[in-house]
Symmetry: C2
Subunit: 199 residues, 2 copies
DNA sequence: CGCCGCGTTGAGCCACGTCAACATAGGTGG
DNA sequence: CCACCTATGTTGACGTGGCTCAACGCGGCG
């Protein structure tokens, strides 16, 4: 099982089944059948759906695994939508996940859930800032990181605020120098993404 | 491995290592070493701790598994406190958890995380009502369930409201007939629990 | 008996929600 | 190429739900 690795192994860049989705695109819906995924790059929101109602149910960032419930139930429990350009790979890479990888996934899911909960506590300013920092990846090494800010609608539903409040708060963060607008905002159907530098 | 089950199996009521804790008691702290636990009865809040700061990070109810991260990290990532009289058993029952039980635990954790997120959205009335219904166990079969309502302090931190707002909201729910006060309230250090009937 | 933790209730205020109008950009169809 | 529509983002005016501050009741404990 560890013999001919060189024969079957492929470079990380050539993993089969990689899927790319963009802002607002649905990776899978509640009840659908499919694989579990690991996020290689980007961000995904999970939602509970009942009829036409959607309610924010979780956040997944680079490195997180989503849809693992399909491995035991045979279908997804949530709907998954991209918050920006997102690249995913099937998980586990092959066969059945080991107990160790499952435990790591479980621990990561609980930490991420705590992150999402924290985004709904406190004042609007700190909520939005926390969300932006989360999306920026919390790397204190780099002084500045460029991120694609999700749609206001998504940020509002994640933080439990309104679109207007998020818009105003982002303006405050720009005044405070935490954010610097770079890309084009406003506009069309698939626009929505603002490039920003996070300090 | 499936041969002499009758020789080693014990009645469910005689599981070794069962632990009972009451309101406000700490099951384990961040960084501690210990077992993972499954909640047989009751409710537990998980908190992120940094220094003296505690922030609500998760909710665990009957049937949920907590502290599984200790199986991979060797220590707990959160602090666990009982919200009422709670009975716990070590998890997994013996040895290493199977992939299937881990997947079930993961799926349950994500559903519970979505529950906790929902408790921080919407108006105060619906938040507190949702929390009470969660604690009541969501069994639509019984018209009335008796539960031990946690301390206002806990309910406030879980829902992201203030103690005063939760107190007023519970009053509204009693007026609306959703709750009926039964036990003794107010008072001492270890009192804090109000028996209530939930309809 | 005094102290402390918990719960209740009231008064006032403010951060945020609500409602509205407008700007911008893309897609679509003529 | 233009007219129109839609989705998104911005900004202002206004009202209010919940936070803040405060005072008090109650019960256990040292």
């Amino acid at each position: 099982m560890q013999a001919d690795r060189s024969a079957t192994a492929a470079p990380a860049e050539a993993v089969q089944g990689i899927r790319n989705i963009t802002t607002g695109e649905v990776l899978y819906g509640t009840g659908d059948q499919g694989l579990a995924w690991r996020i290689r790059r980007g961000a995904v929101r999970l939602d509970r759906t009942s009829g036409e109602m959607r309610s924010f149910a979780g956040l997944a960032l680079t490195g997180d695994v989503i849809g693992a419930e399909t491995l035991i139930f045979g279908h997804y429990s949530f709907e998954a939508r991209a918050l920006g350009d997102t690249e995913l790979e099937p998980w586990p890479p092959s066969g059945t996940p080991s107990a160790e990888s499952l435990l790591r996934t479980l621990a990561a899911a609980e930490r991420r859930a705590a992150d999402a909960l924290a985004l709904r506590a406190g004042e609007a300013l700190s909520r939005v800032r926390q969300l932006v920092l989360l999306l920026a990846g919390e790397r204190p090494t780099l002084p500045v990181t460029r991120i694609a800010v999700p749609r206001l609608r998504d940020m509002a539903e994640i933080t439990g605020l309104t679109i207007e409040t998020v818009s105003r708060t982002l303006g405050l963060l720009q005044k405070a120098g935490v954010l610097q607008k770079q890309g084009s905002r406003g506009g069309g159907v698939r626009t929505g993404l603002t490039q920003m530098s996070v300090t």
